[in-house]
Assembly symmetry: C2
DNA sequence: CGGATACTTGAACCTAGTCAAGGGCTGTGG
DNA sequence: CCACAGCCCTTGACTAGGTTCAAGTATCCG
């Protein structure tokens, strides 16, 4: 792992993230100054469940899986973090130890924020506090949505949802380019890779064709009926 | 529904909640002053998904189901809120509309906090901001835990988890009194009521006996093996 | 071109949901 | 005090959806 201060281009990427996008001026500068950039290999552990929490992160490049392990060693993804997303910011005010594991999926670039430092900034600067609250709120809403979706929707419905959310158009044909391996998409939707494959097969009669990471949708309207 | 200002005994209950427990003095007083108490019938809707969000709540008495509906009308609980718990505080900084439904399970007493008022308090008072962040963080952690648990554990494992968390002892026999109907417990664990019944049956050979809301555990150690 | 990795497909199994019927508790009214 | 109605919970039978294991195919990368 390679650590360094923030470069100009990384600064640009950070500005687009949920955490920093509402900030300006001095607040922005203070938070940026507290970050360190880490280059990481694929499948490197960022932190483990039960470890003492000392930092949270923002993904600049690549993907990070947040997951839990059962005692028999089975593994379930809880969230897949994409570039621009923040994770483990719940540890700022959420207890001493990480409650899940984080691992890079591929080579990834992360901005690391020290928890102690950010706690101090949050106390002093209400703009930063607001950014953290916005971030937490959005994650909570998304995660509650995930619970509901897991409990209500079948695999093909979840896949259709995912495609429709990323669909540029409302009607007619469209295509969606997956930004990562199907493996990650499966984890994101709470499915085994095989189940994802089968879900795509189920959607084929509805006009969904898959070639590698490129998904063609015959008719967006028709796909909406599946959900 | 019956609305009124906070009585002395309700004030005492509120002080024990996640939101207020870290506050004192002026911060506490300001937040308390902004609340209104509502007495509600069983199965009364507190708010609906898609409605404009204008308040969040704290449960003083009774239980509240947070749930989502599928388009075919099926229903999935996302969280069951108990006395002392706050819900929908994610709407303070989380978007304009409620993203789920809230309904009382039985007659319930709720403290209602106006979102606009609390937003102002949060901006002005960093203690209140910290309380909100703590609350959001804990909910996010709990909800992520829920996703992981849904994806990793079977029904009997989830039931065993629930019992063990509420178990007064580490070893030997114990008993747990359910604070509500099994119906609610089923929703909390993401199960149909029938599945909860069957889960209890599965645990019977492991020394778990059920009579009404009273659950007897023969040996806590043995039950831990199930998980 | 070769090897590794990711993806797909098939088959057997298993968990949980659904529908339907029966048991048990509670509260009400005769 | 007993009978009955209503509700909640349990149980059974069936079904659908997903997991697991295993084998085969495609794809990527050296």
């Amino acid at each position: 792992m390679n650590k360094h201060a923030i470069t100009e281009s990384e600064r640009g990427q950070l500005l687009k993230t949920t955490l920093l996008t509402g900030l300006q001026g001095r607040s922005l500068q203070r938070l940026l100054d507290s970050a360190i950039v880490e280059e990481r290999e694929g499948r490197s552990s960022v932190f483990r469940q039960g470890e003492n929490a000392d930092a949270f992160y923002c993904v600049l490049n690549g993907y990070v899986r947040l997951f839990r392990l059962s005692r028999e060693g089975r593994h379930a993804d809880v969230r897949i973090c994409q570039p621009g997303e923040v994770f483990a910011e719940c540890m700022i005010y959420g207890g001493d130890d990480y409650t899940f594991n984080a691992q890079t999926a591929d080579t990834a670039t992360l901005a690391r924020f020290d928890l102690g430092t950010v706690r101090r900034l949050v106390e002093e600067d209400s703009n930063i506090a607001r950014s953290v609250m916005t971030c937490l709120s959005q994650h909570l809403i998304d995660t509650m949505h995930c619970v509901g979706s897991d409990r209500l929707n079948t695999a093909p419905q979840r896949v259709a949802d995912y495609l429709l959310e990323r669909c540029p158009t409302d009607r007619g044909p469209a295509s969606v380019q997956l930004p990562f391996q199907k493996n990650l998409l499966a984890g994101m939707l709470g499915l085994a890779p095989e189940a994802l494959s089968r879900a795509f097969s189920t959607l084929r009669p509805r006009g969904v064709t898959v070639r590698g990471r490129m998904i063609q949708i015959g008719d967006v309207q028709a796909l909406r009926e599946v959900v």
